[in-house]
Symmetry: C2
Subunit: 136 residues, 2 copies
């Protein structure tokens, strides 16, 4: 009666996972849906949502809460941070990891039991930097 890893590998789930691992754009569920329809026209948005949820709950992929109105997903589950472009919402990876134990630090300051941290940056992506310069 524990979390059962009964993950059945359906065609859909496989394609979703493959596609997510292939891209580095941190797509939203709908982005994924649009991408996937090209190779599997009958896939449904509901299935995409369901699988992204299940896969992230199983720790196979990562669900991101990086601001904006939609959740995003990341096929790379290594420890890394993200930057979000304040203009266009594009999300990039950043390989900074704090050089000391932030959790321990935080634990001293609260009566919550700290599990982990999440570090995110906001900025301007190369493309929007360009646009800004052109407009200025």
């Amino acid at each position: 009666m524990e979390a059962k890893n009964k993950l059945r590998m359906t065609k859909q789930r496989q394609v979703i996972l493959e596609e997510l691992r292939k891209v580095k754009t941190h797509p939203t569920a709908d982005d994924m849906y649009q991408m996937l329809r090209k190779k599997m026209p009958k896939i449904s948005l509901g299935t995409v949502y369901r699988n992204l949820e299940i896969l992230s709950e199983s720790g196979i992929i990562q669900k991101l809460d990086v601001g904006g109105t939609q959740k995003r997903f990341d096929g790379d589950i290594s420890i890394h941070s993200h930057v979000r472009c304040v203009d266009c919402g594009r999300v990039g990876d950043i390989d900074v990891t704090p050089k000391y134990n932030l959790e321990a630090e935080a634990q001293k300051m609260t009566d919550f039991m700290i599990f982990r941290h999440r570090l995110e940056f906001t900025g301007l992506c190369p493309i929007c930097q360009h646009k800004k310069k052109a407009t200025a």
Copy 2:
């Protein structure tokens, strides 16, 4: 033709700001609506949303993207981090600030132009720790 600080201080806006500054619970827009209705029964949810948006854009309050399905708001705009309870969604404050310049560190790793960072923790709030212990 710049951002014009034409903030008119209506009764509603005043009450919203007051109430948000009074609580330390990082309420959602709907939480606020429920709280506010007690002292201003005719206030509308739309007004609450509109004002929280305007106030946070003006930098008077803070909009939080701390996970979960709804945005939360914080009347405290000092630099601080948040913890979110993975069980109940409750959000607490944490006064850790990294001891070196994370933005500079991150800037080396990306072609985004970095503006700022956001550090968030996940954990278990005191109440849910208790519940867990009781159930175990």
